[in-house]
């Protein structure tokens, strides 16, 4: 197992370097002026040159990249052009909020997906299967920003049950675990959960059907094992795959959904990215993409290791 983990960690190193290079280059190769957030359209050349030098954008790209990587390795992702605040603090605050949202959505998505998937798998062809499948298809097919808007219209605008925007009555910095604060999480979490719920449902449904048709299930039943015992075996066989699917989905959710976070003004990484793009805040954009990419890479690593620990066949392969 240790050898497997070491091998997987070594594989991560070139990926991380590539990610850093790509996210640095992508934002630099985009057209437009990197100082557009602070440089007015009628700025003189002298002023533009002065600010370009102050932000280090006058240096050659390789030098800028080298400095950026060196600083990043020391925990310094630079300073946001738009706000003047350290990028790391901006990103970590947003990451905290996105993790909160992603975990809530994962909990909802995984629970509902597993339940619907097992039900559909056990009752293939029956009405309950058709209903679960319809819900799953809707979950992955309906544009989630649209679903978010519909939920807001119903639960905020019409019923006035839940808040439409924000992360808490006083912002996310005074977060408390009570209904006053949790209610802000309900609608964005439900919206975010729609896709993973649909995917997990479909995956578990297919797996359940497949497992139930296998000989060992017949054997278990022939041995007189009760149906709850059989169910435990089905669950144990389906769980690693469902977990891998959920892990990938969690990775996507941690990337933050720009649309969902914008619809709900949820101050996570999606909204931060939206803001960084809109303001063309290059240091913030690079820092956010880098942190999110690293999250994605390391989350995949964790999922692989977790899968391997559950299913010995994986590390053997």
């Amino acid at each position: 197992m240790l050898a497997y983990i070491s091998r997987r960690i070594v594989y991560v190193i070139p990926i991380v370097i590539s990610v850093a290079l790509v996210c640095f280059l992508l934002v630099h190769l985009a057209p437009g002026d990197p100082l557009v957030a602070v440089l007015p359209a009628d700025a003189s050349q002298e002023l533009a040159a002065q600010l370009r030098a102050a932000y280090g954008f006058d240096r050659p790209l390789p030098v800028q990249f080298g400095l950026w990587v060196w600083k990043a390795l020391h925990g310094d992702l630079g300073t946001s052009i738009a706000t003047g605040r350290p990028v790391l603090s901006e990103v970590m605050r947003a990451v905290g909020n996105t993790i909160m949202l992603a975990l809530a959505a994962a909990l909802i998505g995984f629970t509902l997906g597993l339940a619907f998937g097992l039900l559909a798998g056990y009752f293939r062809g029956r009405w309950i299967d058709r209903l679960a499948t319809a819900v799953a298809v809707a979950g992955v097919s309906v544009p989630h920003y649209w679903l978010g808007i519909v939920l807001v219209i119903v639960f905020s605008v019409q019923l006035n049950w839940l808040p439409a925007v924000g992360a808490g009555p006083g912002g996310s910095s005074d977060w408390a675990w009570d209904w006053t604060h949790l209610q802000f999480l309900v609608l964005p979490a439900l919206t975010t959960a729609a896709i993973p719920m649909g995917i997990v449902t479909r995956t578990v449904r297919a797996l359940t059907g497949d497992i139930l048709s296998q000989d060992f299930v017949e054997a278990l039943r022939a041995k007189g094992l009760r149906e709850t015992g059989v169910f435990r075996h089905v669950l144990r066989n389906a769980a690693p795959t469902a977990m891998a699917v959920m892990g990938l989905q969690l990775g996507y959710m941690l990337g933050g959904s720009i649309l969902i976070e914008t619809v709900f003004s949820w101050p996570g990484t999606g909204l931060l990215l939206n803001s960084a793009i809109f303001q063309r805040d290059l240091p913030l954009l690079q820092g956010t993409i880098l942190v999110l990419a690293l999250f994605f890479v390391f989350l995949n690593l964790l999922v692989d290791i977790a899968q391997a620990s559950i299913d010995p066949r994986i590390k053997r392969s």
Binding site: G32, Y55, E90, G96, V152, S156, V165, T180, S265, S275
Partner: protein, 553 residues
């Protein structure tokens, strides 16, 4: 760093804590009156004295917490906003040297931290953006300030309540430009600087400004009470504001960045906020139906096509420029496409404004006259004139750029124009605007659609009409080179009596309308939707509003 990981840990601990979440009683605001506003900004505009995010920044974190030497009169909904005394009570240009101005400062004014406002504070604030060797110099504040006062060079203390400002050249626009220089407290900054950790003075200064942005101190009618970056800014009324008539009537104002129009609308309709900026146009009817109030008024803002006048441009023929201006049914655009949320433009400023003048060319919808001009210029149904305009799909002040440009495309085709749209990303368009029509980035376009603020003479006219403002200097994108304009700009700049200066500007404006230098289409109206419990709000003809008289019932 600890705070970052604390926030991070909050997120990570969520799954475990979710199960033990207990119901709690919501907080109560008691008798305190709270005005909650959803801004269009994606973030709280910078709070350290020189806001970013355009004039929305000045509106919410500039003019609330800070004052400038000169201010805008925001008390009337019918008259154009003009400059009035602020922290300076009077000013005059030196009779012998027109680059030197004397400003008399208002006595008895204190910053929110209790330190006095005086000539030293003015010099310190000028130096923060103009003197690179000043300890408080902050590059991040320069861009949003220096270009709005392009000729200001330095400040010098005469005595505690008198300061001398020097410009690079004689410039009568200075008092108007100074509305953009907000006075931050030097004493508060120095205290933060002294306490800051840092290897050198530059690092300490950066830390001091960062600290200042989280605990700001100006002289304005509102004081900073709570700041959650990217989420909310809470301001409380400054009971000891120097202008007793403008001490706020509401105890607390909460500013929330909600960049998405539908989200803002939902927040208003669900009662989460009392006031939203720029409601979604298609929700206006519903907003009104539910008893909310829509406020709108013509703003000093222009939604135009700026014509290229480089060699070979089809717009070099004045008949073509005039024809385009006559072919647009602006009222149709207003009532149909924009649901009433625009004012038809017949120039940079409209009748009633001191800089309007008396143009002889009347910009209106006259299809026959437009068609006749085009025929005279050699075009017709079988020989259409190809023109290309560069625009964006979104952007600050751009209103609804794509539908509006498609409307123009259709309207102009009736006057024998064949309009091609070159749609690019907003920030790229903004960059291209600086580069000019001759630059390859123009991509062959002979017009560009970038909206602009028209509050001060430089922003409204000079940067577009003076030949010396051609790229790379400023925004004369189309390389207009008209000696008459240059002469009128010089005249306006060197006329120091305000009324005479306005008359000179009116001459310049009339000349530019007569020359049809732009396709004038619309002015933004700064729409906002308010809860019916908000009273005494005046929406001036300005980008800015005065929150002081607002009451909540």
């Amino acid at each position: 760093m600890f705070k970052q990981f604390k926030t991070f840990a909050h997120g990570c601990s969520f799954a475990a804590l979710l199960t033990i979440a207990a119901a709690g009683a919501p907080g109560s605001a008691g008798a305190e009156t709270v005005l909650r506003i959803a801004m269009t900004a994606a973030d709280i505009p910078r709070t350290l004295g020189q806001p970013d995010q355009g004039f929305e920044g000045n509106r919410f974190t500039g003019l609330t917490m800070y004052d400038a030497l000169t201010l805008w009169d925001l008390s009337s909904a019918t008259k154009a906003s003009t400059v009035i005394p602020g922290l300076a009570t009077e000013w005059a240009v030196n009779a012998d040297d027109k680059t030197k101005w004397t400003f008399k400062l208002r006595p008895g004014v204190t910053f929110h931290d209790g330190s006095p406002f005086n000539a030293d504070a003015v010099v310190w604030n000028v130096d923060k953006v103009l003197r690179q060797d000043a300890p408080q110099y902050d590059a991040s504040q320069v861009g949003v300030t220096a270009s709005r006062m392009p000729t200001l060079k330095s400040a010098r203390k005469i005595d505690d309540l008198t300061v001398e400002l020097t410009t690079k050249e004689p410039d009568s626009f200075l008092p108007i430009n100074l509305t953009n220089l907000f006075m931050a407290s030097p004493a508060k900054w120095q205290k933060l600087f002294d306490a800051a950790q840092g290897a050198d003075a530059k690092a300490k200064a950066a830390a001091a400004w960062d600290g200042f942005s989280r605990d700001a101190s100006g002289t304005g009618p509102w004081k900073m009470a709570r700041f959650v970056p990217r989420e909310r800014l809470e301001l409380v009324k400054n009971e000891s504001y120097w202008d007793k008539a403008r001490v706020p009537h509401v105890d607390r104002m909460v500013l929330l960045p909600v960049p998405e129009a539908n989200a803002r609308t939902a927040a208003l309709l669900s009662g989460q906020v009392d006031w939203i900026e720029a409601p979604a146009p298609d929700a206006v009817a519903q907003i009104k139906q539910r008893g909310f109030v829509i406020q709108a008024n013509e703003q000093p803002h222009v939604w135009p096509w700026q014509f290229s006048r480089v060699e070979g441009s089809p717009w070099n023929d004045i008949r073509v420029r005039k024809a385009a201006n006559l072919c647009i049914d602006r009222d149709g655009m207003k009532d149909g496409l924009l649901g009433g949320l625009m004012a038809p433009a017949t120039g940079t400023v409209e009748p009633g404004h001191p800089w309007r003048g008396n143009p002889t060319f009347q910009i209106k919808y006259d299809l026959k006259a437009g068609q006749a001009l085009m025929k005279e210029a050699g075009f017709g149904p079988d020989k259409k004139l190809k023109v290309k305009v560069q625009t964006s799909a979104s952007g600050s002040g751009q209103m609804l750029p794509l539908p509006m440009n498609e409307y123009l495309q259709q309207a102009l085709s009736e006057c024998y124009f064949d309009v091609q749209l070159d749609v690019i990303e907003w920030n790229t368009l903004f960059t291209n605007w600086r580069r000019g029509a001759k630059d390859p980035s123009a991509n062959g376009a002979n017009a560009i659609n970038v909206t602009y603020a028209a509050m001060d003479p430089f922003f409204a006219m000079v940067r577009f009409l003076q030949s010396g403002m051609a790229p790379p200097v400023s925004n004369n994108w189309g390389y207009i080179n008209n000696p008459k304009f240059d002469e009128l700009v010089a005249k306006a700049r060197q006329t120091f009596e305000p009324e005479a200066r306005d008359r000179a500007l009116a001459e310049l404006h009339a000349a530019s309308v007569d020359d049809a230098d732009f396709l004038y289409v619309a002015h933004d109206v700064g729409p906002r939707a308010l809860s019916p419990k908000i009273k005494n709000f005046v929406q001036p003809k300005s980008w800015f509003v005065d929150f002081s008289p607002v009451t909540l019932q």
